[in-house]
Subunit: 313 residues, 2 copies
């Protein structure tokens, strides 16, 4: 199961959704492409130097959280109360160790807390006040809730409030943004991580797929590492991330066929919109989505960083 | 996929764990057997009258929550702060609709709230304060937190505090108790439901498998309905409930072989202890557990209620 030392791969996403025709959309898209490319370059440096997949996916997602361009960490969407509640999870494919957190309001980097849950807690999933107490005990960086706010997300929230709707992936052009990473390291280990602000105008306390191991995030060295994005309720009901791996492990499918089946058959049969990135244990990268676009990128030991947004790219 | 009208089945569990040699243990076991038999009889009446699997698993779990004998609803274990935080989930195998709730402190019947999330919320998973707000809006019965307390669970908590341990399934004899149900109705539909107070001395905000669709609860008419019990972190990492179904759907295993594989290979490889109940879409009931005992029972259109505790039964 251990790959040759020189084989590694990293895939990342910045959310699935619909394209925007708004003024400034092109410049915004260029910023996103540039941000994704930066994250890929940093990840490639780490992987080439022998870093673990777990460290790399945490670092990649942390960088995406820190960017205001994506719906995770800084730049998270607003819930029905005009507040932010953040979710994240991470999984180690070598051990199936996992860490998940949900309902965070003041933790600057939810993925850092999820990693600490994986490393230091006897538990795998902590929520709300208890997750905050754990964060405080471990000295995790906290911020004022206003840190997460951006004009762009506030405008989307106000529109959602006015129209009394929830924003699902393609209901509002430009409103993409859950972030994730999946990696194979040079030691042959897989890991996946996902982080989100959720859905614009979501109910207080709503958790989607991003904090749920098996739904938004899954990794096993037996098959692949997966991170999902899209309509969280549907991805949760489809156990989307685990199903990509299960189709490989139990039905013998290759990673792209498994990813396509989960998105274009399983998720679609629920009327769900979304996408996923997957990296298998031989370093093959695959993307699948049924939305007009998915912000995504990949880099491997033998391929330079490439970033794509539209399906045709 | 629609079964003959006369075919139906219900399986229930009251938790996996270790037997107790304490004074009164025999009487306690007799009470548990009697309570499980009552729930099976009520479920059989409903199923024979054409009730839906979803209604039956909700009703069965609600009855188990109302009994102080089980670690769910009344009789829930205490967390590290000497409080109760309750989790539950329910899934409809016909539609893959799901409802999940976690971190409840005052909702008398968590499974009733999970069902309401399934029916009335655009979301599938609500936690903490947001889950409470949803409960209040829908007129769900609330209780003072003291309602959940029992002498038996308080003694377990005080012992755990004194020894500074978490109680995993077989670490404290007699400390079993997550409850669950899986059913096939006469219309050929499957459903599963699970409810728990979690793990004695668990951290504030800890969520195990019981609130997680794919981990503690899963149902699909394509394969089976499953409810798990045991060391929640391990069941979560193993995506235990979904894996029973996935092994049937993707590897063509029968329900008992799939259940055994998940418990005796997948869960065991993580060092996890626990068990599960499963009912397939032909009404075959299966149990699997790697703990000394699992409180369990089943009834079908052609077999009278039977209750069992030890592995040999």
């Amino acid at each position: 199961m251990i790959s040759d030392e020189s084989v590694w791969a990293l895939a990342i996403h910045g959310g699935a959704g619909a394209g925007s025709q708004e003024a400034g959309a092109e410049e915004h898209a260029a910023q996103i492409r540039s941000a994704l490319a930066d994250v890929l370059r940093a990840g490639a440096r780490m992987l080439a130097a022998g870093a673990s997949a777990l460290d790399v996916v945490e670092d990649a997602v942390k960088r995406l959280e820190d960017s205001p361009l994506f719906n995770a960490g800084k730049g998270a969407v607003y819930n029905e109360r005009g507040e932010h509640e953040l979710d994240a999870s991470i999984m180690d494919g070598a051990t199936l160790d996992a860490g998940a957190v949900a309902g965070l309001r003041t933790v600057k980097n939810p993925i850092v807390l999820a990693r600490l849950v994986l490393e230091r807690s006897p538990h795998a999933f902590l929520i709300g006040e208890g997750a905050l107490a754990f964060a405080e005990r471990h000295g995790v960086e906290l911020v004022d809730p206003s840190y997460f706010g951006t004009e762009r997300r506030r405008a989307a929230f106000e529109e959602a409030k006015r129209r009394e709707v929830l924003h699902t992936p393609s209901s509002r052009p430009g409103d993409t943004g859950t972030v994730g990473a999946a990696a194979l390291d040079a030691h042959g280990n897989l890991a996946a991580a996902t982080s989100t602000g959720g859905m614009t105008n979501k109910a207080l306390g709503r958790v989607g797929d991003s904090a749920v191991i098996g739904a938004g995030t899954f990794a096993s060295n037996r098959s692949c590492a997966v991170s999902c994005t899209g309509h969280g309720e549907m991805l949760l009901r489809a156990t989307a991330a685990r199903d990509v791996a299960a189709l490989m492990e139990y039905a013998g499918l290759d990673v792209q066929t498994a990813a396509d089946k989960v998105i274009h058959e399983r998720l679609a049969s629920l009327g769900g919109e979304g996408g996923l990135i997957a990296v298998d244990n031989a370093g093959r990268v695959s993307f699948a989505f049924n939305t007009p676009l998915m912000l995504r990128g990949a880099v491997t030991h033998c391929a330079a960083p490439r970033v794509a947004v539209l399906a045709a790219e």
